[in-house]
Symmetry: C2
Subunit: 209 residues, 2 copies
């Protein structure tokens, strides 16, 4: 589990010729960092006299951001697993027609599994961007720049996820799946981009005060 | 050192009410992840027959991306150190006029040190974005999505750094320093944004092939 290893190991393995961890795991880690920053803003707001009116909302925010952080942490590893699954299929024999057909079928299944992971990462990144908006709106103003960083990371997570969805789609021979997946991903990208603009605007306004 | 601790610890401490690690360290980590992905693309290109014409450029690229990754890894910790320095100044006595004057002077020094770290992170993020462009242009096409993720992370790193520069500037009473710093940061943001658009365009074009 990458989570249990020193941060240095993750960075060293990323920078190596080893195919994992790659862009998919990095997308999930970026999302986990964004969710973590929302949690930090919530923790720095909770229990403060000045913010007592929003205490119930802050508690709900923290619960949601910690849930999303946990999901993203799991997806760092999940991306490595589906990649390993795909590599195993690549090594299947292809000497006879029957072997070739079996390999092709398994390959398509494995590719869809590999594509579903970044799609899920993308979908969660939108939820993190929404929580970053809430954190910027009602959280401790002294920590508003952290809410801004959170939305920037949510957007980077979505864009990174989209690249990984796209590269898988190119090998999947199921037009309906491909169209649905890419259209869902595009919708997420648009929404996260809009949220980033909105939240960054609000953040700079509050920092300027 | 955060680099020597499990990744899980970094995420847990980030999500807590502890002020460190915060947005500045996360900006540096995001930059390190971007540089690491450029290194990965370089490693997946190096020594391959198909890419033998660009071998010297790939070797130079890897050297530069590993240098930048190392700089960014150092800045994860550096941001925590300057924050601790700032916290120590906040605790200085302010009972007499002389104490108040000494505290104010030290505070301004510490704030500039705290501001210089995200500015440096921002400046390096631009260099990482330039390397991501090179990786997308000459690197192994099979890994082009990773070059795309690298530029997305460089842009997130720059935006996160800018938020941390801005929040420090607001407390610094040196208009010349503030103007120079913010103008430098704005210039970086503009260049990195342009590079992201360019490299993402190129990446999707190459994935589409």
């Amino acid at each position: 589990m990458y989570l249990d290893q020193p941060l240095r190991n993750f960075l060293n393995e990323l920078a190596s010729s080893s195919p994992v961890p790659g862009g998919g795991s990095v997308a999930a880690l970026t999302g986990a960092l964004g969710a973590g920053l929302v949690s930090m803003v919530a923790c720095l707001t909770s229990g403060k006299e000045k913010y007592k009116d929003v205490q119930p909302q802050i508690e709900a925010l923290l619960k949601q951001s910690e849930k999303l952080r946990s999901e993203m942490e799991g997806l760092i590893q999940k991306d490595v697993e589906v990649f390993s699954g795909l590599s195993a299929v690549y090594k299947m024999p292809k000497n006879t027609e029957a072997e070739k057909a079996a390999r092709t079928e398994k390959m398509q299944e494995a590719l869809k599994q590999a594509c579903d992971v970044p799609l899920t990462i993308g979908i969660w990144s939108l939820e993190i961007a929404k929580l970053a908006k809430k954190a910027a709106e009602i959280g401790n103003t002294a920590a508003v720049s952290d809410a801004g960083v959170a939305v920037v990371l949510a957007r980077a997570c979505a864009q990174s996820a989209a690249l990984n969805v796209k590269i898988n789609i190119n090998s999947i021979k199921d037009d309906v799946y491909n169209q649905n997946t890419w259209s869902r991903m595009q919708d997420v990208l648009k929404q996260v981009d809009d949220l980033e603009k909105l939240v960054l605007g609000l953040t700079y306004q509050k920092i300027g005060k």
